[in-house]
Symmetry: C2
Subunit: 139 residues, 2 copies
Amino acid sequence: METIWFKKLTENGYRLTHPLKTVVEVFSTSKKSLSPIEIFELAKTKNPRIGLVSVYRSLEKLEEIHLVQRVHTPLGCQSFVPYSGKHEHLLLCSTCGAYQYFTGDELIGELMKTIAEKTGYEITDHWLQLFGKCPECQK
Amino acid sequence: METIWFKKLTENGYRLTHPLKTVVEVFSTSKKSLSPIEIFELAKTKNPRIGLVSVYRSLEKLEEIHLVQRVHTPLGCQSFVPYSGKHEHLLLCSTCGAYQYFTGDELIGELMKTIAEKTGYEITDHWLQLFGKCPECQK
DNA sequence: CTCTTTGCAAAAGTTTTGCACGCTC
DNA sequence: GAGCGTGCAAAACTTTTGCAAAGAG
């Protein structure tokens, strides 16, 4: 995963600096959604000189080229997960923050059409997330 | 709408103070989702003595008894809309912030069952929002 | 008259910005 | 070497908290 990310970053004209690489590394070794501060804490163990600001700036870049995605939950919207890239939807564990992707566009497509007709809206985007308990947290 | 809100607020032990009533009034006269500061600005025109803090505290109460709901969009998650109460989903205009509710649980229920089987997650909640252009903004 | 709620001010948190230096390409 | 990206410090916001005073029930 890291290699692909590094490639995409350079393709987009970004320099592979130590802080950026550390943030990528943190994402590729985590199974949970991570907030900027959590990323910062994890990054510091790999690179003690890193600053919080660089985490924010790295996230900005990664988000812009769709390598990460912000996660919205009832408890807050600061956390990020790697982007699946396949227009999939998120399933999140409310207990530990673990995430997983699933597809469901066939269903949504139909729904969007119906709602567009009913409301007169021109529907351009949709957003579906499921919440629950991951197998680990059910134990 | 206001009357029902006032009733539910007193039923829940809250006092009908001037600031609280003003915030309710703002919601019942708006068709857009509103952020705390937008609510504050609108409230000041009706009650110049109101403080921003009271807006936050009113929202807390209104959210707790499910009269309003926080709206999540790619652009931010500070805005609120009146809660439909019928477990419906939101359709939002990306341009002007107008909102509308729709139902679609039959479809989602099916999807949730499938995903639960596939992933081993115990799915407890779902979250669906559509984005688009309202009829007004298409003109 | 009691006790919740208010408005103010200040604190706490998070995110952004300015700037000189360092490191990537 | 040129110029993007860094770390630090400070600023800008948003949201929360402490407290005396006001006002709802």
